[in-house]
Symmetry: C2
Subunit: 296 residues, 2 copies
């Protein structure tokens, strides 16, 4: 077992050329998490938590109503109506996305969803009225980046939007911008495809179970679609946590992103003090900041 | 089949708020690649091409001697001595790296490698003397980013280094910076872990076969190490393409990164003109620029 086994905090002696170093924090992320108090954590609302159950296990998703209230409401309706149960994962594209929904959505055999076929896109929201924490980072895609309510985001002077980082969940759509109603969902599995920001409605983030999606066989069709019906991965069920008896819920807590502790976590990742590092960057990207999840 | 099926070029009408748009390029990446001439492509040198053969197939890696000449030379020596044959993939960490080598490297049972135990680190090289193409991008981690010889890279005023983008290959090391000699290799499989830049020697990039690595079962031990010996993924062989008869080589070509065509490709990804996009970003990150590989 070699490299990266160094999780213990050490009082590092820095010798980095060309970059001013903050000596303030010598904590590792493990330290920061270990020292976090109960109030640094929050429990996602059960009505905003999805359980996507596959044969291999359950993927837990937290929804983001602050950014996509109407689309989230549609998804809640679809889940309550058991729309997704028995549908499938139809697309698994390397270094990109996994996508689920009705493979016959465009045929006469499409499963009825009971919703209007159009929904005003929620690709971004007004920046004003949104409480978020800015991240000091040069970002390739946004004027400003940061975190709101536990989600990574970008902003300009007027708008704010969720960013396509690993594990973010979005709503597939056709060419018309208002054609994504929530019946088709994708999960970002690869390097952040940030060019999708403000082009699709993002609705949440996977809190647990990413490896159930990222290890699926890649589709061999165009864009990673499965070519054979038999390749599709069946969805056993999608439930809101609020629909599940308390004792059967997955007890996850998410580290709050609006706290001093989270700022310490960012610093611990910006200035790596683990013994192994010789050049601790001093910088960070919005999709490189972990938002820790704790629990079973 | 929905969204992203739009590969045809369209003369898009832009209406993007807040961002000046270039109207010069209306090509898609597919167009750019289709129109590339023979001289836009290069064939990696067989002596700089590795075939990593697993039970599931062969991963093709291009080495980067311009950045890590001594480490690359060590790897060539190890391959020629059949050091890697019969060793294994020992670590598969979600959204991070896959790592291969001798699982007993630190035991008495370690396989002898016949090399010096120390090698001067090649975490960066002088910027001067390196021919590279700069990418106009705000980067979270580097003053300057761009491409050299088909690899993504970063630079400051004095130094240049390969960047930890998806599919890049590096050399594992222990705490001493000079302890990475090439016996242990890792491949970046997740969102670019750019905090590793200038902390490890990067030696190349996977050209083909990433999905053979990214779909492997995740290790359940700390840092994604396999806990059971039986979980390790055997390496059948590692060969230089130059060691393989011509007729058995994988015929890959890589799009050159020092051409006008590559600049057009970057632009096609910066300003997405496919019909589906409503807000084509106008920006891009160094790890979001594909470096196309063509061939069987």
């Amino acid at each position: 077992m070699r490299w990266f086994l160094l999780l213990a905090a050490t009082l590092a002696i820095y010798s980095v050329s060309g970059e001013a170093r903050s000596q303030e924090s010598t904590k590792t992320m493990a330290d920061v998490i270990a020292e976090a108090s109960a109030s640094d954590w929050r429990t996602p609302e059960p009505v905003m938590t999805l359980y996507l159950t596959l044969q291999g296990g359950t993927v837990v998703i937290e929804l983001a109503p602050e950014f996509a209230p109407d689309t989230v409401a549609n998804i809640q309706r679809l889940v309550k109506a058991r729309y997704f149960d028995g549908l499938s994962i139809n697309r698994v594209q390397e270094n990109y996305v996994v996508q689920l929904g009705d493979p016959q959505a465009e045929d006469n055999a499409a499963r009825p969803h009971g919703l209007a076929d159009r929904l005003e896109p929620e690709f971004f929201r007004p920046r004003s009225g949104l409480s978020f924490v800015e991240l000091a980072s040069e970002d390739p895609y946004a004027d400003t980046v940061g975190f709101a309510g536990g989600f990574p985001m970008g902003a300009d002077t007027e708008r704010a939007w969720l960013t396509h980082c690993y594990a973010m969940v979005g709503v597939g759509r056709d060419v018309p911008p208002d054609s994504g109603i929530g019946t088709e969902l994708y999960i970002v599995t690869g390097h952040a495809p940030r060019h999708l920001d403000r082009n699709v409605t993002l609705v949440g983030r996977v809190l647990q179970g990413m490896e159930l999606l990222t290890t699926l066989p890649r589709g061999t069709g165009a864009l990673g679609f499965y070519e054979q019906e038999s390749e599709r991965i069946p969805i056993e069920s999608v439930r809101l946590a609020s629909e599940v008896p308390r004792g059967e819920r997955v007890g996850l807590r998410v580290l709050r992103t609006d706290t001093r502790t989270f700022q310490e976590l960012i610093k611990s990742r910006q200035f790596r003090t683990e013994n192994w590092f010789v050049d601790p960057a001093g910088r960070i990207g919005v999709c490189n900041v972990p938002i820790p999840v704790s629990g079973r």
